[in-house]
Structures are given as structure tokens and as C-alpha cells.
């Protein structure tokens, strides 16, 4: 069985649309870039100022002027465009970003996301997360279903929200859940995971229409 993060990344990759602009958050979301389906052309944005970046360059060929939003060295693909922070967030806030994939600490029954701070712990700062959730056309949360056994999908956030806006989709290693006006709808279950197991690991009411289908994921053979 594949590990949780890989399942999540492979499922999220199926949300990628042809000719779209996508921003991947640091950490788990970054893995999604490894599973872009064949035939799908996606432009990835890094909010520090580039569209069209690729894998780290060979050792010794890194440019000190070219990194991703996590500070790691990257390469630029042919056709890349670089720009300043004002332009980068004009793209994000102006609705030009088709999708953002972000990690999550909690999602609640109203579809609100908390992912930037745990009171009493270290305060990293929101970085670009609040703008991404406010501005992207689709916000996909890629996170593990529970944290040390405790549900991360709960009735009401007890961590500070990242935005008042409802996210578009939540993908975990157990399920795909869509926040709607009526509540959290269970769309898919992971291979080998039962609805009962999902319900038991979820701290909010799920809307379930019969037996949800098994989550498709990008297979190794289909990834570009």
C-alpha cells in the first residue's frame, strides 16, 4: 500500500485541468507536481515570482536568483515568466489562478480552513496562504485525515481561520469531501477504506448518498 501523502498527491493530481495555472503550497501539496496526468498541460506558479518552474537543477548549476517559495533551488522551463511580488499576488487575488493546493490543520463543517497558526505554539505567519484562499478559483486542501488519531475535519474550527471563504475540495488519504451549502459531502473513499471508518475518523457530520465510489488516483503509468 502506498503511503498517505502519496495517495493524497495522486488523487489531487486528477483535479488538474489542461491549460490551467496552479499554485502548490509548501510540503505535501508540492508532491502533486510529480503526478501531473499525461496530456494535461499545467503552468505552476511560485508566489515569490515565477510561472513555469521545474525540478531542481543538477548540483553546481543552481542560480542564487531562482528559488521556489520554500527557498529551494528550482529550474525554469522554456516559456517561463518571472515577475515581482505585486504582480504575483495580482495573479492570485485577481482570479487568474485556476487552483491552489494547500495543506490544512483543520477544516470545519462550513468548509472553512485553518492552516496558518496554532495558538500557543510557534507562529510562522500566514505568508501567502490568506491571499491564496481568498483569491484562487478553486482551493483544494490536501491533508491527512487525522492528526495522531484526532480528526482534523470537525464541526467548528478551534484554530484561527485562514479565510472566511469556503474551500472547494478536501482530499485526504481516506476520502474526498466537498464542502457545500448543505454541509460536507463525502464524494469518494480511498481504496480499502469503508464509509464507517471514514465517519469514525471525522469530527463533523458527513452527507453520504449511498455508497460513495472508490477514489481514482493517478497511477504511476499515467503520470507525465
Amino acid at each position: 500500500m502506498r503511503n498517505a501523502k502519496e495517495i493524497i498527491a495522486r488523487r489531487v493530481a486528477l483535479e488538474l485541468r489542461d491549460h490551467s495555472l496552479v499554485n502548490l503550497g509548501i510540503g505535501l501539496p508540492t508532491l502533486v507536481a510529480s503526478y501531473v496526468p499525461v496530456g494535461i498541460s499545467v503552468a505552476f506558479q511560485s508566489e515569490n515570482g515565477i510561472i513555469g518552474f521545474g525540478a531542481p537543477p543538477p548540483e553546481g548549476m543552481e542560480s542564487p536568483h531562482l528559488t521556489d517559495a520554500g527557498g529551494g533551488f528550482i529550474s525554469a522551463l522554456p516559456g517561463a515568466a518571472s515577475f515581482d511580488s505585486v504582480t504575483s499576488f495580482a495573479l492570485i487575488r485577481g482570479g487568474h489562478l485556476d487552483m491552489t493546493v494547500l495543506g490544512g490543520l483543520q477544516v470545519d463543517a462550513s468548509g472553512r480552513l485553518a492552516n496558518w497558526v496554532i495558538p500557543g505554539k510557534i507562529v510562522p505567519g500566514m505568508g501567502g496562504a490568506m491571499d491564496l484562499v481568498a483569491g484562487a478559483k478553486r482551493v483544494v486542501v490536501a491533508m491527512q485525515h487525522t492528526d495522531r488519531g484526532k480528526p482534523k475535519i470537525i464541526e467548528k474550527l478551534n484554530l484561527p481561520p485562514t479565510s472566511a471563504r469556503r474551500v472547494s475540495l478536501v482530499v485526504t488519504e481516506m476520502a474526498v469531501i466537498e464542502p457545500t451549502d448543505e454541509g460536507l459531502r463525502l464524494l469518494e473513499r480511498a481504496p480499502g477504506v469503508s464509509v464507517d471508518e471514514i465517519v469514525a475518523s471525522t469530527g463533523a457530520k458527513l452527507l453520504i448518498d449511498g455508497e460513495p465510489p472508490v477514489m481514482p488516483i493517478v497511477s504511476a503509468e499515467n503520470a507525465a
Binding site: G49, F89, G125, M126
Partner: protein, 217 residues
């Protein structure tokens, strides 16, 4: 553009307690030679404005490590444990601003706008104490302009007039900060004669730059 100065002269021009905007994103595109000179002269009580506080040994992180800084306005401090530590002990005051809001606030300060209305932060702690304005049924925060006494920029090329170019993701906050400070000091990788940078390649017009930091010795 007025003149070309050493990093030490730049550091000497900046008094203790000054507010300074720093270009840079996790240390990439930050004015490292002036930062080193500020550390060397033992600057104190600075307010620094920028995307992040980099790492303890990189970019503006060095200023925090050396105790030069009293206030930070940034979108992210998670990569610098020293910032975290000093914030907890109260040695450092930190105001966190969403990254896109930070960019727009600096832009507003630099281009004569009284403020901007952004959807970012509505319904979060960022909205506390701020005016919310409804436009056509949507809610926006009224965010205020930001300016500073100094802007310290890292550029790729500068010509003798102070026209600047930037390189790839090292541009980040540098171009917008060129508009938003009373004194703008740019530290280029290279200084070239007038005419070498074509008009369409100029990303910061030289009229915005007060001083260039002289070439690397």
C-alpha cells in the same frame, strides 16, 4: 540618482530607529552588503519591513541575530527561530501581514493611494480593528498604505542613472519598495554605463533611486 556610495556609507546614513524596507524572499534578492554593514556598525532599534526574516545567517536574519531590530512587519517568520525566540521574550515586536496585502500596502504607499480594499483577511484575525467595506455585496478590508524612511534594494544591473533590472525570483518585493521610501538605496550585482540597459528592460526607473552601492571591491 545622486551618487555611488560604499556599503559602510549607506549603513552610516541610516540612523538607529529608522524604518527600512528590505527586498528579499528568504534571503534571495536581499541587499546583503548593506545588511552586513548595518550589523558591523551595530545599528539598533530598526523597524524592518519585508516578506520574511529569512534565516539567522542569511538576509535580514543577520540583523535580527545581531540585535539591530526592534520591530518587524512581515508575512512569514517561520524560517527564523531567532525571530520566534525574540518575539516570545518581547525583545522583538512582530506584525504579521498577508503577503499579497503587504505588497499592495507598500504599493499604495508608493503610488499615492490612500488605501486599498482587499478580500484577503476578511473574517480572520487580520481584520481586527480594520474597517470592512461592502462593495456590490462582497466584503473587503480597508488596508492602509505603508511607507518607510529607507528602502534597501538588491538589483541585478544598474546603469549610471540608477535604472535597475532584476533577475528571476530575486525581484520579489524590490521593485515595489523603490516607490515607497523617502530614501532608496540600491545594491546592484553590476553597474553598467548608460545605454547598456534598453528602455524596455528597465524595471525601476533611475529617478526613484537616490544612491547606488558601489561595485564589489
Amino acid at each position: 540618482m545622486q551618487d555611488c556610495i560604499s556599503p559602510e556609507k549607506a549603513a552610516a546614513m541610516i540612523p538607529d530607529g529608522a524604518s527600512i524596507m528590505f527586498g528579499g524572499f528568504l534571503g534571495v534578492g536581499s541587499p546583503d552588503r548593506v545588511i552586513d554593514a548595518l550589523v558591523a556598525r551595530g545599528a539598533r532599534g530598526l523597524t524592518i519591513i519585508g516578506n520574511d526574516t529569512a534565516m539567522p545567517t542569511r538576509g535580514v536574519g543577520k540583523l535580527i541575530e545581531a540585535g539591530c531590530v526592534a520591530h518587524v512587519k512581515a508575512s512569514h517568520i517561520g524560517t527564523n527561530p531567532t525571530t520566534q525566540k525574540k518575539m516570545i521574550t518581547g525583545e522583538l515586536e512582530v506584525e504579521l501581514v498577508p503577503q499579497g496585502t503587504l505588497a499592495e500596502r507598500i504599493r499604495a504607499g508608493g503610488c499615492g493611494l490612500g488605501g486599498i480594499l482587499t478580500p484577503t483577511g476578511v473574517g480572520t484575525v487580520v481584520a481586527e480593528g480594520k474597517q470592512v467595506i461592502e462593495i456590490d455585496g462582497a466584503s473587503f478590508l480597508l488596508e492602509r498604505p505603508l511607507r518607510a524612511d529607507f528602502a534597501l534594494l538588491r538589483a541585478h544591473e544598474a546603469d549610471h542613472f540608477g535604472n535597475l533590472t532584476y533577475r528571476l525570483t530575486a525581484a520579489n518585493f524590490n521593485p515595489v519598495m523603490a516607490f515607497a521610501a523617502n530614501c532608496v538605496i540600491a545594491e546592484p550585482d553590476e553597474i553598467v554605463p548608460v545605454g547598456v540597459i534598453p528602455p524596455d528592460a528597465v524595471r525601476t526607473p533611475g529617478v526613484l533611486v537616490h544612491h547606488l552601492v558601489r561595485r564589489v571591491q
